[in-house]
Amino acid sequence: MTTPTSTPGARGADRGLVLLRRVADHGLLWPVVALVVLIVACGLKSPGFLDVALRDGHLFGQLIDLLRNSATPLLLALGMCLVIATGGIDLSVGAVMAIALAVSLTFLDGAADPGAPATVLLAIGLGLAAGVVGGSFNGFMVAVLGIQPFIATMILMVAGRGIAMLITQGQITTVTSPPFKSIGSGFVLGIPTPVVIAAAAFVLVAVLVRRSALGMFLESIGINREASRLAGVRSRSTTWIVYVIAGTLAALAGLVYGAPTMAADANNIGLLKELDAIMVVVLGGTKLDGGRFNLGGLIAGALLLSALERAVIIFQLPSQTTPLFKAVVLIAVCVAGSPILRDRVQARRLRARAARPVEVAA
């Protein structure tokens, strides 16, 4: 009790410092800070931004739109995150979105009664099945043939839009089917359907990955594939499964994304969405070189992404500049979280602390 640092007040401050350090070291600090800053800025610029209204039992408002727009990137990023954990990448998710929507809408277009619930369910099932097939193809190329994931999934990325075009026979297929449309623009218990779907998918994947051993196996494969194989991990089938999951989620994202317009535009649905998905994974604190992954961070990442897109509109910036702002935020978040930078800052802080008594003595 003689040294000043052991007084109760100082100890409390120390504990506060430790907590602060832990928050600062947490990978999600900067994405969350960026998200809050963006939302506050939007709120200041456009006063109605933060308002949420209940109309006809449905939630409305710009923040609700923000949630709705986060659904697609979150669905894509969920699958992408698992693929990245194994040390891979899936560039085909955007194309798979287009294929799934083309399959569903073409089926509805040919159906006798596009509005019948059974027909719509079958259409959704077929769209998802297209995602399973696409994902299986990717998984086969990567896990069985041993092709580099970047190249293997690029095949479907490039060919996928052609396939979607073949399915729609070169047309932009448009259909009228209110039940189908509602998966993109409807509400469940007042909450937008896409938000409910994305949340359900998130919980499902989180439970699947973390309550089984799948998550640990994905990480161990991503960190050291050969050691995992020798420890008995079925690295081939596990890798394959992950691409199938990514393909299925991409198909779901395609249906949710395309449902409000009900137009299967093979050339534009999901264009460049694979890059958004990768960005969400990175913003969410998962490294691209595989191994440890963080599902919770995907939510922050997806929200940040759509907040950014919204901010560009609110600040009346030309919409062509959106990618530029995405790049700026990505750079800022990555630099802020850079371990090298953190070590430097820490070293400087330590040096400053070490230097202080000398100055006092002098």
Binding site: S212, A213, F217, S220, L230, V233, R234
Partner: protein, 514 residues
Amino acid sequence: MSETHPPHDEVVRMTGITITFPGVKALDGVDLTLRAGEVHALMGENGAGKSTLIKALTGVYRVDAGGIEVRGEELAFDGPEQAQAAGISTVYQEINLCSNLSVAENVMLGHEVRRGPFIDWRATRREARRFLQRLHLDLDPRSMLASHSIAVQQLCAIARALVVDAKVLILDEPTSSLDKAEVAELFRVVRTLRDEGVAILFVSHFLDQVYAIADRMTVLRNGRFVGEFRTAELPRRELISHMIGRTGEALAGIEQQARAAVTSHSSRETPLLTAVGLGKDGSVQPFDLALYPGEIVGVAGLLGSGRSEVARLLTGADRPDHGEMTVHGTPVRRATPLASLKRGVALSSEDRKREGIIGDLTVRENVALALQASRGTWRRVPRRELDEVVQRYMVTLNINPPNPNALIKNLSGGNQQKVLLARWLATSPRLLVLDEPTRGIDIGAKAEIQKLVTDLAADGMSVVFISSELEEVLRLSQRIVVMRDRQKVAEIENGDDVGTGTVLEAIAASGESA
């Protein structure tokens, strides 16, 4: 130039070479003399300092003390460029050529025939063919390097040494991936070069090859110079004694004491595992082996003799090309690590870093991995059971720090090894194959692991114990399998009359069949 002229045939003279790494003296006063028109072998076990010495000669490492003379001139290498300029050329085990370029481009790289600012490709190819023909190699200079076998690629690397007019050629483990005919071809080329007056430094783990090609040899042990010998005057047994560091007689006494500790628990009635004619092309020749419950079988042999390959075949890490294996009398059809684990057969690999630890996962996850894998992806090992298993092995193996949430990459080598042992023990194996479980770990951990192995066998587990340390193998094993040149050459029943000498004899016995 004439006043410091050495005896005319000495091309390289390294004297008193000392290299210190933080905390370790890698080389301590080592001499090496290479003579023109001679093949000189550099011998020593793993960690003896062979590659450090080569890197000193090629300018990769700076020497802390000692001198390097090349053709009578004292040289202080600041980098590999100067060594190359002095005429020292190296061919590594992993070929450092560009496999996607043509033979001519590789051989002539940096020495292309120029016409003004352009390369005269026709003349370059002609030159390349000339150099290849000097080695009696009939290759199309236009063909892609990758289209040739590893052996031919290696010969191209040697041809490249001619292009740069090498006075000294270093061949670092050139034969480890070659078959017999390819080795013969390589040796023909090496002899051609030797007769042209090139000084050749040859490093290989294959004793038969060393005796076939080398005129002289320098032996290193633990970073120290043991001696320089004429091959013809050094019997194999003596060479191995020099490499390992004890004579067979001196060791015998130590073993007699240790021997008492080994009590035979094995019944030798029904074998746990039998292998008949098990082999893999290019890896290990077919061998027979039977393993019994409660028995420790040691595998002895020099590095590269096929020890690890035997371990990998027994445990499904590699798929055999020949032969059959049964576990508990049931023929093994699917040879995969997972299938082996389920049969109760586990392998602890010699390469802890690449084939063992999952660096970024915690100690708990690293222990859990094999147990979880054997139960499948969907039946997760309950957390309580897992914690109990991890806690048990943390205590019995004395893992430090005793924190299951620490990342395994932050543990010391010895503790990583213990975590890996815990991983395999957690699957309750009936056969545990340990490939160099005590390599690179401190004495204390080593003794703990040795004791664990005898305890496990006493409980009825069958253990295969592979180690470079002969004493360790002799102390622990009831039977010793001896490997040489990827062949099982002997199986010795351990007993009072068996000492290091017996095993050395078997390792060294001239291999007519190899």
